[in-house]
């Protein structure tokens, strides 16, 4: 059974700080996505990574896919209160059709 563990589970930081969120699996991803979910809304897709070692940037967000495609990280530079939300990784694994969500990281950025 594939599991997606995210760390940390909770994170509360001051505006302007940097942070990194991790997503780890024991299996190889075919592809991986990151989502952000705000209260009362559904998850919104931020990025898709496919190639091992791939790095993608979305303004202050930097996404990295591990070389072995078993892990990924999301780094936020100079966090703002608008970054507050639940960050979820999700993906499919080689040899299976199942799309699995990670355990989530709840981020709160204080003004």
């Amino acid at each position: 059974t594939q599991l997606l563990e995210q760390s940390p589970q909770f994170l509360s930081i001051q505006e302007g700080e940097n942070l990194t969120v991790y997503c780890n699996s024991s299996s190889v991803f075919s592809s991986l996505q990151w989502y952000r979910q705000e209260p009362g809304e559904g998850p919104v897709l931020l990025v898709t990574v496919v190639t091992g070692g791939e790095v993608k940037k979305l303004k202050r967000l930097t996404f990295q896919f591990g070389d072995a495609r078993k892990d990924s990280s999301l780094h936020i530079t100079a966090a703002q209160p608008g970054d507050t939300g639940l960050y979820l990784c999700a993906g499919t694994f080689s040899g299976t059709y199942k799309y699995i969500f990670g355990t989530g990281t709840r981020l709160k950025v204080l003004a």
């Binding site: 559904g42 998850p43 898709t48 199942k98």
Partner: protein
């Protein structure tokens, strides 16, 4: 225009009642899903339909019955509601897993 819309947004009902949640997508995606998000925010797949055909049916009580009249619609009917069914239910659609999912804004179901 909302890409994936689901109704109602909130649903409060008594135990034992039957209720339905509706979902529509205008993205032209072939695949639609129902997810349940529990109080710990974990998203768990319930059902998946591809072009009106059921392709994923996870371990869900048979009180839950999805129906897809066409590939743009996927409704969820729940019979004999129980307290443990209280959760947020999300509809989603996708053009393929490598493209990610587009979610609706959720239906918060509260069974009292």
């Amino acid at each position: 225009d909302t890409a994936v819309s689901q109704t109602p947004k909130y649903l409060v009902t008594q135990m034992g009642n039957d209720k339905s949640i509706k979902c529509e997508q205008n993205l032209g995606h072939d695949t639609m899903y129902w997810y349940k998000q529990d109080s710990k925010k974990f998203l768990k797949i319930m059902f998946s339909y591809n072009n009106k055909e059921l392709i994923i049916n996870e371990t869900v009580p048979n009180r839950f019955s999805p129906k897809s009249p066409d590939k743009a619609h996927l409704n969820l009917h729940i019979n004999s509601l129980e307290l443990g069914d209280s959760a947020v239910y999300f509809c989603a659609s996708s053009g393929g897993p490598s493209y990610g999912y587009t979610f609706g804004s959720g239906t918060r179901l509260t069974v009292v």
